[in-house]
């Protein structure tokens, strides 16, 4: 994901601001990292450049 995506995404649960933490970046593309809700503290992973912003209760049963 690109960092400017932060302008339009939010926590899917409470719609509050997310805090970005980058562990791997390649030429402006964020490859691995986390997005943490500044309000409820829920942590959403960024994997292979794609943020997984599914609500926590959908993460497991959506892995068919």
């Amino acid at each position: 994901m690109k960092e400017d995506l932060m302008d339009i995404i939010c926590c899917p649960l409470d719609k509050q601001t997310l805090e970005l933490s980058i562990t791997d970046e390649d030429d402006g593309d964020i490859i691995e990292g986390t997005l943490t809700c500044t309000e409820c503290g829920e942590v959403y992973p960024i994997e292979d450049g794609i943020p997984n912003l599914l609500p926590p209760d959908m993460r497991e049963d959506a892995s068919a």
């Binding site: 995506l5 302008d7 939010c10």
Partner: protein, 191 residues
Amino acid sequence: MTDLAERRGVETELYEPAEDSALLAGAAVDGVDAEDRVLDVGTGSGYVAARVRAETGAHVVGSDVNPHACRRAAEAGVETVRADLVSPFRAAVFDVVTFNPPYLPADEDAARDDWVEVALTGGTSGRAVVDPFLDKVGRVLRPDGTVFLLVSSLTGIEAVVQRAGERGFSSVVVAETSFPYETLVVLKLVR
């Protein structure tokens, strides 16, 4: 539902672009400006999102619940977010939202246990995904924003128009194509 999947030439992990995708992309291209920010919900292969971006120059983001779809769309160069409909997007950030939803009515006992089922079927009414989408899309859309929604006669176009109306949208058909077994329309929704 396997026969439907075969008829539509789908693979097992995601829904491949078909007539409905092309109809939606064509209608959306006509309604998008270069400076618009667009969300393609249920982007699948990323076909609609990539075409809208290529043909309009707009900033397009795709979302899908299916991780295989997210990967494919990202490989197609679409900025992709794994999401349940519009839930992780901020209020009033999109000028245009496009959606080719799962809309085929499913048998009562058909399990949504594989990704193609998830991509094709919308519960017994065909509206199990369209209805929550209509309930929620208004939040992420700018006040003067537009939704382009693919609907099949099998889903009940009137029922979708009525639900949209209850959510403050007026609907107009901007594209249509007919097959022996169904008619597909693109509804343009505005407030």
